[in-house]
Amino acid sequence: MKAPLTWLSEFIKTDSQITASLAAAAFTQLGFEIEDIVETGAGLSGDIRIGRVLEIEELTEFKKPIRFCQVQVGPAPTDINGIVCGASNFRAGDLVVVALPGSVLPGDFSISQRETYGKISNGMICSLRELGIADDHSGILVLEDDFEVGSDAVSSLALKDSVLDLAVLPDRGYALSIRGLARELAMSLNAEYVDPVSRVEKIEEAKSKAITAQISASQDCTALHLSTLDGFDPDAVTPWEIRRKLMLAGMRPVSLAVDVTNYVMLELGQPLHAFDMSKVKGAISIRYANPAEMLETLDHQNRMLAQTDLVVADELKALSLAGVMGGVDSEISENTKEIVLEAAHFSATRVAETARRHVFSSEASRRFERGVDPAIAIAASDLACQLLITHGGAQFTGRDSVAVPLQQTTIDFDFTKFIEIAGYDLDLQVVFDVLQNIGCEIDADLVKVTVPTWRPDLLTTNDLAEEVLRVTGYDKIPSKLPSAPAGRGLSADQRTLQQIRTYLAANGLSEIINYPFESDENIYQFGDLPSSELVKLSNPLSEEEPYLRNSLLPGLISALKRNFGRGNSDIAVFEIGKIFLPNQGKDMPPLDFPLSKEKLAQIDQVLPLQPLMVGVVLTGRQRPWSPIASEISWNWSDVINVVGSILHQFSVPYETRYAEAKGFHPGRTAEFWSDGTLLGIAGELHPKLQENLAAPNRIGIAQLNLSEILKLLPETLSAVPLSNYPIAKEDLAVVVAEEIPVAQLLSCITELDISELESFEVFDIYRGDQVPVGQKSVAVALRFRSSSHTLTTEEITEFKAKILQQLQTKFGAQLRQ
């Protein structure tokens, strides 16, 4: 809201000067952020006067029309200057603003006597832009006949002003008016406030009504006042002061009828609409739109209305979208002589919904959405009629009103609660004063606070407390630390996630955070899912990426691509994030409060599944060159290793299996399983995809389901006493078929559960002359130790035999001779 300081000051009685900086400081403290302060006319200096154009000589010999004007610039008959002017929107006899030689206009534009177009020009006739008031440069400024020729234009036109551009929070609809802002400023400055409503002269009711008002949508419209005027002069000029205020407030003057409605809206906060009465047939009613009803609005859009849209209609059709925008057909034109002025009160939610549906926010809808004073419609109507009568020569012909009696909100006065919310001992008198200053009434028994009609946002003690605190200053609130109950720190899952991140970072991987938005193309690199298996956005940022990721892998590839594009081909990154998978697709349970655990469970059943995943991509060099440690490149096994070691570190039991998955190298990819649950996949990116990326090296890529892994974390590990009996080291080499994965041999040994087998590991795999073709020899180093005695040779032989036996039975393994 742009508020000229002169306009605000009209309603504040004070002896001291209200400066822009004083006002800005006051508004800031009250919760209105100052977005800008514009000093209009700041660049004006020297002799700038009101002048009257006496004669116009048209100079036609130039490319564009040029006028040489005789302009009276002073009271004496001889004070006449010849001035060359390129505009032609004025007539002889008009009052204009003349910058005399020696004066300076904004932008350090010095005016001097000069010869131009073959004439001596003694000054300049100014446009609004040249005066620094508005952007209008379509012609020079023509004034109504109310100013003295030769008087100082800067003071008589109030060209110097300060305009505060205030950010108004959405709950403070009252502050979208000079009325509301002046009340705040007066309160903050401890000055007397004059409600502009109190200055409005009441219209004497005409005996007959010229038009009938009806409300058929009483849910969403509580008041409708239709005033009619005739004999309006369509050529009437809007007085300068109204135009000035409109322009400083950021609105463009259009015509008297329109300017008056805007002016009243800015001053009082009540949106008004003027119709050309000759275009209206019969009674005017507020109703919901009919099915498939159309309306061409003032922006020349032909809009299909919804049946929840509220319209102002005559007997035939909708005239305007109530509280949002007028219609073209009933618009005030340059011929309008009879006017219907609508002042109504529409519900905030209805206007908001309509404005949103039609993607249109107007000055009117902004105000209705944030709450207009429901008691003010008549006063606004009166003021507008008075202005149309005074400046447009109109006569008031009648008014018809339909209005629901006002319900004023009352709030129990709870001083204890005030103190609890504030956190310190507020003074009762201060609380009183603030509440009264904002317009509340408190009854004599201190039981009830009656909220003013212009503050529909005040509904609870908390709302009142905010008022008291913001007016007295948030800086008065002391600092206290509440004491929380003894904490339990992070949950096991949260702790584990932090540890996994640290673990991966310590292994040289860097965390990245990708967007979850994906395209078909990216997703299909790793799966041929039908789109019904994907979770889709209805309003994606980009039409190419309408899906929520069902895997971290496509995002990792995109990140890889960006890094390659920036000249970096050595990449080791991980991401921990949620993916989105379809749920059974039930309907959201009906909304009712209070919410409960059961309700929450119902909601969660409808939401897409959102497991937490960890993804890894490795390619290029593992580390920089050094003469000592030779440079090593990431290969297919590293990626399996990295994610496998996460499971290892956190003691999650798992086994690996060959995986065949789209996007992966068919022979270099492993799945991780635990007790029938698939935990994830790791392996080499399919060389075809690598080629698509123009990647110089093979790429390792992996993804694990952390949500599943976290379920498998052991709660507490039990220690086993460390035995100090001697270790017995034995090697066992067996020959098995090539296709048997080594890890399976090892898990087969684990399954035997020989408690004396402390550890074992593969130390050699041999293929060659000494073993048959299609077979390999796997050598395992076994370490036996007993917790109770020194093992005997017989015992050790027996263990070895047991292991060999098991490998023979399961895999047909032969002892290598």
Binding site: L169, R356, L490, S510, S626, I628, A629
Partner: protein, 344 residues
């Protein structure tokens, strides 16, 4: 003949010469190899003292004892000298080996490549640490969230202007009433439903608003919200908590201030600013929990009250760590994370 030769070897001055020669030879040995040959020639079976010892039997008993004692004394003296020399030369040898193994140790560090935790995560972890130390718990919620929890339960009814303050990603018609949460506040609702009172929680996480990515906007960003619901909680407790938080994050001398603001889920509401690097910076929003929010989850607002606060982590990172372009945080450029390592 034999007595002559005996007398020649078993001669006191000869023995003394042999001893002195041996000692000199030992002392002259410069390495273990030469020491070894000294041992063979001067202390071995064929050394003068060994030969003399072998001749002792030929002497008369009285001489035998006298010469025997001298030879024995010389031999044990020489053994000691030899042993000392051996230790000395072994130490020298070891020293030379170590010297020969010297490397340019600085080369080893060339092969270090560091990974890192994304600074957004690290910053959130730091915040979590501050609050868990104060006794708070950490709650997280789904990113695709029910509209009811993201808006309605937070006192943002349909058509409330606050809903148009933020552009929301809605899921397709397969998921009516589901959106990508625009704030971490729905987690507050979940915490209040799932937890016993009093509640002291912090909820970090991703939030979504349909802004295009540019230097200062990103459609996906991170927030941390705090929520306290207990008896007797008001603006003063909020102010104290925020001020402690800010000091932990930005330094013990940092100032905070509150300015009136509006959020549907808090009343009174405030913007919080911190005075950092010589200027006031807008950090986040906060306020006393609106009683309607408490009522929406079945908590009696006449008994309990609370406060909530929240801030953007990207924004925090921008002014705290001097990140000037939001795009650097979200584009997955490995250089960005590496810059920070694991520091928060």
């Amino acid at each position: 003949m034999s007595s002559e030769s005996n007398s020649k070897i078993l001669n006191m001055s000869h023995l003394e010469d042999a001893r002195n020669l041996a000692e000199a030879a030992i002392k002259e040995a410069s390495d273990l190899d030469s020491l070894k040959s000294v041992r063979l020639s001067h202390l071995g079976d064929k050394s003068q003292l060994a030969l003399a010892n072998r001749e002792l039997g030929k002497l008369p008993a009285a001489d035998r004892a006298k010469f025997g004692a001298v030879i024995g004394a010389y031999r044990s003296e020489l053994q000691e000298i030899f042993a000392a020399k051996q230790i000395e030369l072994e130490a020298l040898r070891d020293e030379l080996i170590l010297q020969s193994e010297k490397e340019d140790v600085s080369l080893a560090t060339l092969a270090i490549d560091r990974g890192g935790i994304h600074p957004l995560t690290a910053t959130m972890n730091r915040i979590i640490e501050i609050f868990t130390a104060m006794g708070y718990q950490v709650d997280e919620g789904p990113e695709a969230e029910a509209e009811v929890l993201n808006f309605d339960a937070l006192n943002i009814p349909a058509n409330h202007p606050a809903r148009s303050m933020q552009d929301t990603f809605y899921l397709s018609s397969d998921y009516p009433g589901v959106l990508l949460r625009t704030q971490t506040s729905p987690v507050q609702i979940r915490s209040l439903i799932n937890r016993e009172l009093p509640v002291y929680v912090i909820s970090p996480g991703k939030v979504f608003r349909s802004d295009d990515l540019d230097q200062t906007h990103t459609p996906v960003f991170h927030q941390v919200e705090g929520l306290v619901v207990d008896k007797g909680i008001g603006m003063a407790e909020l102010k104290g908590t925020i001020s402690h938080f800010a000091k932990e994050m930005f330094g013990s001398d940092v100032e905070t201030r509150l300015r009136p603001s509006y959020f549907p889920f808090t009343e009174p509401s405030a913007e919080m600013d911190v005075f950092f690097n010589g200027r006031w910076v807008e950090w986040g929003g906060c306020g006393v929990v609106n009683p309607r929010v408490l009522a929406a989850v079945g908590i009696d607002p006449t008994v309990y009250s609370g406060f909530a606060f929240g801030m953007g982590i990207e924004r925090t990172l921008m002014f705290r760590n001097g990140v000037t372009d939001m795009r650097d945080m979200v584009e997955g450029d490995i250089r960005f994370t590496k810059m920070f390592g694991v520091i928060s």
